[in-house]
């Protein structure tokens, strides 16, 4: 649009535009189709859906899949735990990464370099699954809610993102506060943190999405505790039940009549992705900032 000044469009240019438009349309269709298809299946009668041929619109409309999902106790528990771990986990991670970033971004702090290096090393070296598993077990973190929010609380990547942002804040602000007698706590709370709101939002978004989507910790550490299950883990169990029984799916008809594992899973999938779909478009500028900040290492 803004290139109207260029008067003639050459043949090659036109071909390029057509190619590009087709590419983008194909990209959007491939990205959105599976999601919309799942939505259509979730709103369609389960047994009817097994016949196939449902693409973007339900053929036999019903809410039954959703009511079935909402009656499953373990899914309700999973949803509750997932919301709790997302809120608590994000809060803890944000506070601790912000404090750490503040400490290592103080130019006058005597151990700033060493503490930074201590964390950067953790990005590249880790004990691996088994030693970590045994450690959590001996710390009593298995079969506990704490295993969701404590172990991943501080991450070097998130710390670096915040640190890079903090280093961009002019020293003069802090110095004048120091002259007024403000200590580090005041500087952190009253001066630095209010200015860091955009980067805090970025890190909060990264952590929250990770918390919302994680399932492996639920499977590995809290398999025995049904009251600590998560939404994604329940969804995974639904998926494996579908793949194992898809051939005999029709026999899975239960008291709800026409609900199948496939249709119930579709409904659970939509419920699980709904909060994310509603929120992420409004946070775009934050994660774009975060990624570009994260690229700067030292």
């Amino acid at each position: 649009m803004n290139k109207k000044k260029r008067k003639k469009i050459s043949g090659a240019d036109l071909a390029f535009r057509i190619f590009n438009t087709i590419f983008m349309i194909a990209f959007v269709v491939i990205t959105l189709y599976p999601v919309l298809n799942t939505l259509a299946i979730s709103l369609n009668d389960g047994t009817d859906a097994l016949r196939g041929g449902i693409y973007l619109w339900p053929r036999v409309f019903t809410w039954k899949n959703y009511t079935t999902v909402l009656q499953k106790d373990n899914l309700i528990t999973g949803a509750f735990i997932t919301v709790a771990r997302t809120i608590i986990g994000t809060f803890l991670a944000l506070v601790s990464n912000a404090i750490l970033a503040f400490i290592v971004s103080r130019k006058d702090f005597i151990f700033a370099k060493q503490v930074s290096l201590f964390w950067v090393i953790t990005m590249y070296v880790n004990g691996g699954l088994i030693p970590t598993f045994l450690l959590y077990k001996s710390l009593g973190l298995t079969n506990s809610f704490a295993v969701y929010v404590i172990p991943g609380m501080i991450s070097a990547f998130n710390m670096l993102v915040i640190r890079t942002y903090m280093k961009g804040i002019p020293d003069s602000l802090e110095e004048s506060a120091q002259l007024d007698g403000a200590g580090y706590t005041t500087i952190f709370l009253k001066i630095i943190s209010p200015l860091c709101k955009p980067v805090y939002a970025t890190v909060a978004l990264f952590v929250a999405v990770g918390q919302w989507n994680s399932w492996f910790d639920a499977m590995l550490y809290n398999r025995m505790s049904d009251d600590l299950t998560t939404l994604q883990y329940e969804l995974m169990k639904l998926l494996s039940s579908v793949t194992n029984q898809s051939s005999s799916a029709e026999s899975m008809k239960n008291s709800n009549g026409s609900v199948t594992p496939t249709s119930v899973r579709a409904a659970a999938t939509i419920i699980t992705m709904l909060p994310i779909i509603c929120i992420y478009p409004f946070l775009q500028k934050y994660f774009v900032t975060g990624l570009t900040l994260g690229g700067v290492k030292e």
Binding site: K3, L32, L100, R106, G127, P131, P281, T292, V296
Partner: protein, 305 residues
């Protein structure tokens, strides 16, 4: 920064920083460094009863067992193959998408496409594999299209054949991460000096020529550094999707090192062999990262921006 000597008053002044730093370092020691002590297990005849301190040392026995296991060698091959394939295709697609998106003149359309492109990144692998199952099932869109165009007689059971597994994993990675990975390239493209494009236009360059001679060279440093960073991660590229999509029929091509560790270490309770496999992965990753960093330094590209 400056070579100030550390005075007592300074320490006193920084008391609060020191206390917090200490707390956080203790946390780091427990959760990030203590597990490293568990590596000792791989060199022991580890028994949970005797623990790390009292189990008998047996040297490299576990490693020898590991590398004489045909399954493990196959697992290394799978991890490497999928890691490299995924890296190559996701890289190519992200760069292509970023360049083409940048060429869209209509700002509104660009914004919409970009917003949609981020969506899959935020979905969990559980959801993505569920969606894949639907799309590739007998009644799914792919088989329907193949049938409609008479390309196949019978619906293909994509998850039952080894030859489809790696391409499916590669496609899933492209589907999930292309938009997200393109963010950094789009930022790099935005940073290119517009006068370069104007100069190219004066020289009579069309779109292709501009992309080839201005855009691509402009984002080359970004491409190089991201490539080097990701090569170090190539062995980390496989757990969730392979674990969720794998099944008995394709186990020969689906198992990765991480799955092997999980299977032997946790499910079979052989902690030592699982740890040994984990160590192998870590060591190879670290070596790759060090090599890549060397190369990046030699080319003077330590930073992204």
């Amino acid at each position: 920064m400056n070579k100030k000597s550390i005075s007592l008053t300074q320490l006193k002044h920084q008391k609060v920083l020191l206390i917090w730093a200490a707390v956080i370092v203790v946390y780091g020691v427990v959760f990030y460094y203590l597990p490293l002590a568990g590596w000792v297990m791989a060199f022991q005849d580890y028994k949970p009863v005797t623990g790390l301190l009292h189990s008998k040392f047996i040297g490299f026995d576990k490693f020898i067992r590991l590398f004489s296991d045909v399954t493990f060698l196959r697992v290394i091959r799978n991890t490497l193959a999928m890691g490299v394939i995924n890296l190559a295709v996701t890289f190519f697609m992200a760069i292509l998408f970023a360049i083409l998106l940048n060429e869209i003149a209509c700002q509104g359309g660009k914004k919409v496409v970009q917003t949609i492109s981020y969506l899959p990144h935020f979905l969990s692998w559980i959801i993505v594999t569920g969606i894949l199952h639907d799309a590739l099932s007998g009644t799914g869109i792919i088989n329907q299209l193949l049938l409609n165009f008479n390309l196949v007689e019978q619906p293909i059971n994509f998850f039952a054949h080894e030859k489809y597994f790696w391409p499916i994993v590669a496609f899933a990675n492209v589907w999930k991460e292309t938009g997200w990975n393109a963010i950094i390239y789009l930022a790099a493209i935005t940073a290119i000096d517009p006068s370069l494009y104007e100069a190219a236009a004066i020289d009579g360059a069309g779109r292709w020529a501009k992309i080839k001679h201005v855009t691509l060279p402009g984002i080359k440093p970004t491409i190089m550094i991201l490539l080097l960073m990701n090569i170090g991660n190539v062995l980390n590229a496989g757990f969730e999707i392979q674990y969720l999509l794998g099944n008995g029929l394709v186990v020969n091509v689906s198992q990765t090192i991480d799955i092997y560790v999980l299977k032997w270490g946790i499910s079979q309770g052989d902690y030592a062999i699982g740890t040994a496999a984990g160590i192998f992965k870590s060591v190879v990753s670290i070596v790759l990262i060090v090599i890549c960093n060397r190369i990046a330094k030699r080319h003077g590209e330590e930073r992204l921006f």
